[in-house]
């Protein structure tokens, strides 16, 4: 599903984002991308979304080579990837329902399909009763559920979560990770960048550890760190 082949990314000013990283993630996997801030987790996420190109190496998402992908085709790549971020990225002047529906509106889905899929997605994340609330009326965990609902609307084959629990307390975080796990069980590949040690240890999933842009560990059913 996701293949990095000797990928390096250098930012202007000789700052290293990734340094010769090779990763292969199969369809249906649940993978934690861990490491301290600045280790390259976010760079990896942004490369997968083709927000920019790798300086060296090859990246494939679902069999598509990103370096050959034309700019104009990038939107279609992103439609096949669901995205969840630490800061939720919700629109504050729209209700929960409108926020979720917005994700479908802007890719030109029909009104009928939006009316069918939106309540379904809200039910999946357990927010059916809060459809008419505004984001500021919700807790952090609920807001993140809204953004997960938006990301999962099109049943993407890959869901990328960049520090989705970064702003949440431990208990809420568990709720979110359980939701992501349930999504994973439907066959969606989940890649989650995090530095939430407890969460990773609890889940016992594949862990890819990055440090200073390099892969320092890639282990199945692993814990956050070897010492844990």
């Amino acid at each position: 599903m996701v293949v990095f082949e000797n990928v390096s990314k250098r930012y202007p000013g000789d700052i290293v984002g990734l340094d010769d990283v090779s990763i292969s993630i199969d369809a249906g996997e649940f993978v934690f991308l861990v490491g301290p801030s600045g280790s390259g987790k976010s760079t990896a996420v942004r490369l997968m979304l083709k927000e920019f190109d790798a300086s060296e190496g090859r990246i494939q998402i679902g069999g598509r080579d990103l370096s050959n992908l034309r700019r104009s085709k990038v939107p279609y790549l992103r439609r096949s990837i669901g995205c969840v971020f630490q800061d939720f990225k919700l629109l504050t002047d729209r209700t929960v329902y409108e926020n979720v529906a917005y994700g479908l509106q802007v890719i030109g889905e029909s009104g009928e399909s939006i009316r069918r899929k939106t309540p379904e997605a809200l039910r999946l994340v357990g927010l059916s009763d809060k459809a008419d609330r505004f984001p500021h009326e919700l807790s952090g965990g609920e807001q993140q559920r809204v953004s997960i609902a938006r990301a999962f609307m099109n049943h993407p084959r890959l869901l990328i979560a960049d520090e989705p629990t970064g702003n949440l307390d431990p208990e809420t975080s568990i709720g979110i990770i359980q939701l992501l796990y349930r999504i994973n069980r439907t066959g969606t590949t989940v890649v989650m960048a995090t530095h939430d040690r407890d969460l990773v240890n609890r889940m016992q999933m594949r862990v890819i550890a990055l440090d200073e842009g390099r892969v320092v560990r890639d282990q199945r059913q692993a814990r956050y760190a070897l010492a844990d």
Partner: protein, 294 residues
């Protein structure tokens, strides 16, 4: 249809969120289009006046130099016999030299010449000023005439210089105002891109195409342009009713009355609203190219 509605709803949302700037941009377009709207008919009017005047003034027929007195007499009899000619005036070589001397700033300039180079001529006034073209056609082939018979240059030149002045000053003013409206619309769009950066971010994230993201902003710009255009058309309509029509009706100059038809107000209004829309689209388009990297 559904998309169109989405674009319009988003554009209106955006206009609502920065009303002040949208109004400023709209007013600039209004002023630009108003000046354009005042300029187009006045320019066409002056142009039509020039054309009309050209056909109405005296014509000058230059004769061969030297020319036999008998030839001059024959030509003079021909003029006298022409039913379309009201009067004519013979300008001899000496007359011509005297007239030129008066017109030149330096009266001694002519003295430098070894001989008088000016040919004798007839200045002919037609009975009906509109017939001057036919008179010219008739006289041109006469053996006494040398060179093309011309309209009297002085009056037409004066009118032409007025026309040229209106043309250039109007053009300069319009270019300045156009630049201002483009910049202001651009700025409005830039701010609304900033105000809607969250939406833009989400749209990119979920895979909206570039044009899907751009359309609401383009519509916002065009909206400001069209509203500005419409407002200026209303304003021009008011000016037309209260000032121009009034002036045309009370004017005793036949000239203004029978050549007043320059451009119909409906076509002018369409042109102006169209111009407003183009300015709006251009202003937002240029800004989007620079500030909305997708």
């Amino acid at each position: 249809m559904r998309r169109l509605r989405f674009f319009f709803v988003e554009a209106l949302r955006s206009i609502r969120s920065n009303v002040g700037l949208s109004v400023a941009a709209t007013v600039t377009v209004l002023i630009t289009v108003f000046v354009l709207g005042a300029f187009i008919p006045s320019f066409l009017y002056v142009q039509s006046q020039v054309d009309a005047q050209k056909a109405k003034v005296d014509v000058t027929a230059y004769l061969h130099d030297p020319i036999a007195a008998a030839e001059v007499n024959r030509f003079q009899r021909k003029l006298a016999a022409d039913p379309d000619i009201k009067s004519f005036n013979f300008v001899s070589k000496d007359d011509a030299q005297r007239i030129l001397k008066e017109r030149l700033n330096d009266p001694h300039l002519m003295d430098q010449l070894p001989s008088n180079p000016l040919p004798p001529s007839f200045v002919i006034t037609p009975k009906n000023p509109n017939n001057s073209r036919e008179i010219i056609a008739r006289l041109q082939s006469d053996p006494a005439v040398d060179g093309p018979i011309a309209f009297d240059r002085q009056t037409t030149d004066k009118l032409l210089s007025v026309a040229r002045f209106i043309q250039w000053s109007g053009l300069v003013l319009i270019v300045i105002l156009l630049t201002a409206s483009l910049l202001l619309i651009g700025n409005t769009i830039r701010l609304s891109i900033f105000a809607r950066r969250r939406e833009v971010e989400v749209m990119k994230l979920v895979g909206a195409t570039n044009w899907f993201i751009r359309w609401p902003f383009v519509i916002e710009g065009v909206f400001c342009g069209v509203i500005g255009g419409l407002a200026s058309v209303l304003l021009l309509w008011g000016v037309k009713i209260s000032v121009v029509d009034n002036w045309l009706n009370t004017s005793d100059q036949g000239l203004t009355r029978d050549t007043a038809a320059t451009i119909g107000f409906t076509s002018l209004a369409l042109i102006l609203v169209g111009a407003g829309a183009v300015v709006g689209a251009l202003g937002s388009g240029l800004t989007l190219r620079r500030f909305l990297r997708v």
